[in-house]
């Protein structure tokens, strides 16, 4: 019979325990009565018969105990006894219990917090059926310095239905739209999607329908699918919403579907979906490399990523023979389309940081566990004799081990429950640290799954911790604790070595954690010291998206920006105002290419991706660019027929290493056009960090006048003499007076933008700092506990030595030496660990060597101070032992 079949019967018996006990008593009573009756019938006197029946049956209690064991109940009885005993012991030493529980709560809570993030971002499947078959396909031009340029609509139309390994292909393009009636408009994040977007993901509207092929024609695209959130908040969850109209960018769109409540595509904050409509020329072969969309696909069951990649490569190779003029250039740029798992692609950048943070949390847990083992060992040594007596009078080894396991597991489980509370708080704290802005960060949740993992972890930890304690308890008996004095037995010496070994381990682990935190901090410091290339103080920026209905063409956009700049200039405190298609560190960047007039590319030379932006007004002054040569672009350049542009020093240096960029002419794109379309370089400005402060590679940038290269999506930038945030309201109201339907969003000072761009660096550094502080505290507690115990244990020896003339300083020095020895051993191990850690962390560090001396000195210094401080009180106590009292007591 198998365990699995027997267990239910054991549980049934447990559940009906009172009935089981009653039945057993009744059965035995009946037996004895029947026997008595039989004896009486055979002629034995009644009183004698009852006595004999009871005697021959034997001890009813023993029989009952045997019966319970036969039913598999004994284990449970012992367990509940052990639990009660453990609880009593925990109550009797509140100091120990509180320390242990606090240690566990913090360590497990920290791990739970980080695990919730790791789970949401790296582990949990995306909320789509067979989500592991979803892939992302993007174009890469490595030789042009453009690793990921998304995909084009042309790619989508050329690939759908033609790649055998894909069962579905879909394109999407993120954007924003102004939604709502005049006076109550809001800018909402939207996504335009191809008709097969929802079917490729495997989830679509619960109300209404998905988009149709017909709706990809611009004449028939005025429809929308709402997310559940938008439907509930803006339309009160109207069940008859299908067919109703919403106003988008001034035009009416009919609602054709509503998505399920838990529909969420990657990190998208999109509230409304529109069809991705296009004119045929927008997806002609000429637009193949426009990179203005993203492409997802679903692998056919059984098809592998490699097959899909091979088919995409083959498909691209055929298309590269179609005679389009830029084929050669793209080949020179190393063009390829990569097929990567959707989720892995989405979280690739954050993965190492997250794993590192989780490793830090695990280190903290390890330190906490070591601490707990040491405290438990000390406690166990206080009851060596009790255990020895119990084993001598028949307590089995199994029972002694069980008892320890029950006690430690109880402690870790209780600590785990408290850790759940700490973890719930920690997840809130992460919100404050910006975890929601991580990819998939919105999925971070404290749920049954993470709680189950945490509690399982707590139980496993309890069992692991109980092993050394159980070993110690058993060993102390075999070593003859009954005969030995309270110290001097081999078990005590072994236990002492074990305790000291754990202190060394703890110091080493804390050292590694401190070094790791130091490396992250140093790296962050180096990043913060990087000059962004402009002056971010007192600069406010916000985003505008001019609807095409009111601003149909370039001149309309230009006219609006000119009015805006003029109006902003009239505001008190404004020093300069301008607009641009992008500001540095905005989180997005846009590269295209430029052709220098009269220069023929060398064979094999690939066109470079260059940051290309349009600017208006006094953009450069407002942002605080530095001027190297020539002049900045001004508002007048947008109105002038001769085209002027400004390039940055990186672009100038690459193309004219000997200087002389001024006066040179260039064309937008990869082809030379008519002379009238050439832009003359009128200025060279300092390079700015465009995408990230840690950008090391000089990409180059070209800035064009907005009037010659108009765009509807703009940033507005003001430099003020006041703190920038106090100008935010004024900026909003200026825009509203010019166009009541035009909201300004994403209003942030440039300082804030820089800070926000560093979330992925600052938050791990902060967390590591927090973990290190806890680790240092735990190390102090551990060292203090072990040394205090050593003093108490050697009280009589110390007293004797003092009675024989030892001076208190000598006693103090003895414990100081011990501490220094442990510290030295821990530090040596720690340096080795820190070196390994530094090597593992190189990928996330910025300009930091593997093992900086400052960090070693810092970590060593902190631990030295902490362990010496922890040793101060116990050694002081040792030096003040009164020989008389101690010897008389003994």
């Amino acid at each position: 019979m198998t365990m699995a079949r027997l267990m239910p019967s054991v549980f049934q018996t447990l559940l009906r325990r009172p009935a089981f006990e009653d039945g057993m008593a009744e059965e035995m009573r009946f037996h004895i009565e029947q026997y008595t009756d039989d004896l009486v019938r055979s002629g034995v006197p009644a009183a004698e018969a009852a006595r004999r029946a009871r005697r021959e049956f034997g001890s009813v209690d023993n029989v009952k105990a045997d019966c319970r064991e036969a039913r598999g109940l004994r284990l449970f009885d012992e367990l509940s006894l052990d639990v009660r005993y453990a609880l009593r012991r925990m109550r009797k030493s509140p100091g120990f219990t509180a320390t242990a529980l606090a240690t566990l709560a913090l360590c497990l809570g920290a791990n739970l917090t980080i695990f919730a993030v790791v789970d949401a971002v790296l582990l949990r499947p995306l909320p789509f059926p067979a989500s592991d078959r979803l892939v992302s396909v993007f174009n890469t031009y490595p030789k042009a310095g453009v690793p990921n340029d998304g995909c084009s609509l042309t790619n989508y139309y050329e690939r759908r239905g033609r790649i055998a390994a894909f069962s579905g292909v879909a394109a999407y393009r993120d954007g924003t739209a102004i939604v709502g009636e005049t006076g109550a408009t809001e800018r909402e994040p939207i996504t335009r999607v191809s008709p097969d977007f929802f079917s490729t993901l495997g989830r679509g509207p619960v109300l209404g329908r998905a988009f149709t092929e017909e709706e990809t024609r611009p004449q028939a695209d005025m429809v929308a699918i709402l997310t559940d959130g938008y439907w509930r908040q803006r339309l009160n969850g109207d069940p008859n919403v299908i067919g109703k109209k919403i106003r988008v960018n001034g035009f009416e769109r009919a609602v054709v579907g509503v998505l399920p409540a838990d529909f969420s595509f990657l990190s998208s904050r999109t509230r409304i979906y529109f069809p991705l409509s296009s004119e045929p020329e927008e997806h002609s072969p000429k637009q193949r490399h426009s990179g203005n969309s993203d492409l997802i696909a679903r692998l056919r069951p059984g098809a592998s990523l490699a097959e899909a990649q091979a088919q995409i490569d083959a498909h691209n190779a055929v298309l590269a023979q179609d005679g389009a003029p830029d084929n050669k250039m793209m080949a020179d740029a190393g063009f390829r389309s990569l097929v990567v798992p959707l989720r892995a692609d989405h979280v690739a950048a954050i993965r190492p940081v997250l794993l590192l943070t989780q490793a830090g949390a695990l280190f903290l847990l390890l330190i906490g566990a070591v601490n707990l083992v040491n405290l438990l060992l000390i406690r166990a040594s206080g009851r060596i004799k009790e255990l020895a007596v119990r084993q001598a009078i028949g307590a089995s080894r199994r029972h002694v081990v069980n008892e320890v396991m029950v006690e430690t597991t109880l402690i870790t489980l209780a600590g785990g429950l408290l850790g759940l509370a700490v973890g719930a708080g920690g997840i809130r704290l992460l919100g404050a640290l910006g975890a929601e802005h991580l990819p998939l960060g919105a999925h971070i949740a404290f749920d049954a799954r993470s709680a189950a993992v945490a509690l399982t972890g707590a139980i496993v930890l309890g069992l692991a911790i109980s092993l050394p304690i159980a070993w110690y308890n058993l060993r102390s008996y075999s070593a003859g604790a009954l005969q030995s004095e309270s110290r001097g037995g081999t078990a005590n010496r072994a236990a002492q070595r074990l305790r000291h070994g754990f202190i060394v381990a703890q110091i080493a682990l804390a050292f590694v954690l401190l070094a790791g935190a130091g490396l992250l901090g140093l790296s962050l410091d180096k990043v913060l010291a990087v000059s962004p290339g402009f002056h971010p103080e007192k600069v406010l920026s916000g985003r505008l998206s001019l609807p095409r209905k009111s601003y149909q063409d370039g001149p309309a956009v230009l006219a609006f920006t000119e009015r805006l700049q003029a109006e902003l200039g009239r505001q008190p405190g404004v020093l300069a105002a301008g607009v641009a298609t992008n500001v540095p560190l905005s989180g997005t960047s846009n590269k295209s290419t430029a052709k220098i007039k009269g220069r023929t590319p060398q064979p094999g030379e690939s066109p470079r991706g260059i940051y290309s932006y349009s600017v208006g007004g006094d953009y450069f002054t407002a942002l605080g660019f530095s001027l190297r040569e020539g002049r900045f672009l001004t508002a007048a350049d947008s109105r002038r027929a001769e085209r002027a542009c400004v390039v940055d020093e990186d672009f100038a240096r690459r193309n004219w290493p000997q200087g002389g960029a001024l006066g040179q002419r260039l064309f937008q794109g990869s082809e030379e056009g008519p002379d009238a379309e050439a832009y003359t370089i009128v200025g060279v400005v300092g390079a700015v960090k465009q995408a990230d402060l840690t950008d090391d590679e000089a990409q180059g940038a070209v800035y064009y006048p907005l009037g010659h290269r108009p765009d509807h999506d703009l940033f507005v930038v003001t430099r003020t003499s006041l703190p920038p945030d106090s100008f935010a309201a004024a900026l909003q109201s200026v825009v509203r007076t010019l166009d009541p339907e035009l909201p300004v969003n994403d209003v942030r000072s440039m300082r804030t933008r820089i800070a926000d761009s560093l979330v992925a660096r600052r938050s791990p550094a902060l967390l590591a700092g927090l973990f290190s502080a806890l680790a240092v505290l735990l190390t102090a507690i551990g060292t203090y506990g072990v040394l205090s115990y050593a003093v108490a244990q050697r009280r009589r020896e110390i007293a004797l030595r003092m009675a024989l003339g030892a001076r208190p300083e000598q006693i103090r020095a003895q414990f100081l030496t011990l501490t220094l020895r442990l510290l030295a051993a821990g530090t040596v191990l720690g340096i080795f660990g820190a070196w390994l850690t530094g090597r593992a962390m190189q990928a996330v560090l910025f300009h930091v060597p593997v093992l900086p001396v400052a960090i070693l000195a810092g970590a060593g210094g902190i631990l030295a101070i902490v362990s010496l401080a922890a040793c101060l009180l116990p050694s002081h106590r040792a030096a003040r032992i009164s020989p008389m009292e101690a010897l008389v007591e003994g």
């Binding site: 027997l6 059965e27 037996h31 034997g58 019966c67 036969a70």
Partner: protein
């Protein structure tokens, strides 16, 4: 009083299965029945009967049900389950093989003219 034999280890379960295979019995009845079918030759130590019954019930070889005794008292009656019947058959066959092997071993005469 007739001479009683000590039980061989492992034979108690077999005897209990046999006793309840004849008709449903309460605990005391099992004891009486074994004594009776062994011609008073076997006596079960009363203390080991109930642990054995509980173990067999736990192994689902016998089933228990509360009923009325002959003198109208509430009593727990044990019956043989299907699994118990198979086990009894196996044990009986095994026992018979063992018994005849031992008997033939013990009956062996010394070989004439051995070396």
């Amino acid at each position: 009083m007739t001479k009683t034999a000590d039980l061989l280890p492992g034979t108690l379960d077999m005897l209990i299965l046999k006793a309840v295979s004849l008709k449903p019995l309460h605990g005391y009845g099992v004891l009486v029945r074994i004594k009776q079918i062994s011609g008073d030759a076997l006596e079960i130590p009363q203390g080991s009967l109930y642990p054995a019954l509980y173990r067999l019930e736990h192994q689902e070889l016998i089933a228990a049900e509360w009923g009325q005794s002959e003198n109208n008292r509430k009593a727990k009656y044990y019956t043989l389950t299907e699994a118990g019947r198979r086990r009894l058959e196996e044990e009986t066959a095994g026992w018979n093989r063992l018994a005849s092997a031992i008997a033939s071993a013990l009956n062996t005469e010394p070989e004439p003219g051995g070396a």
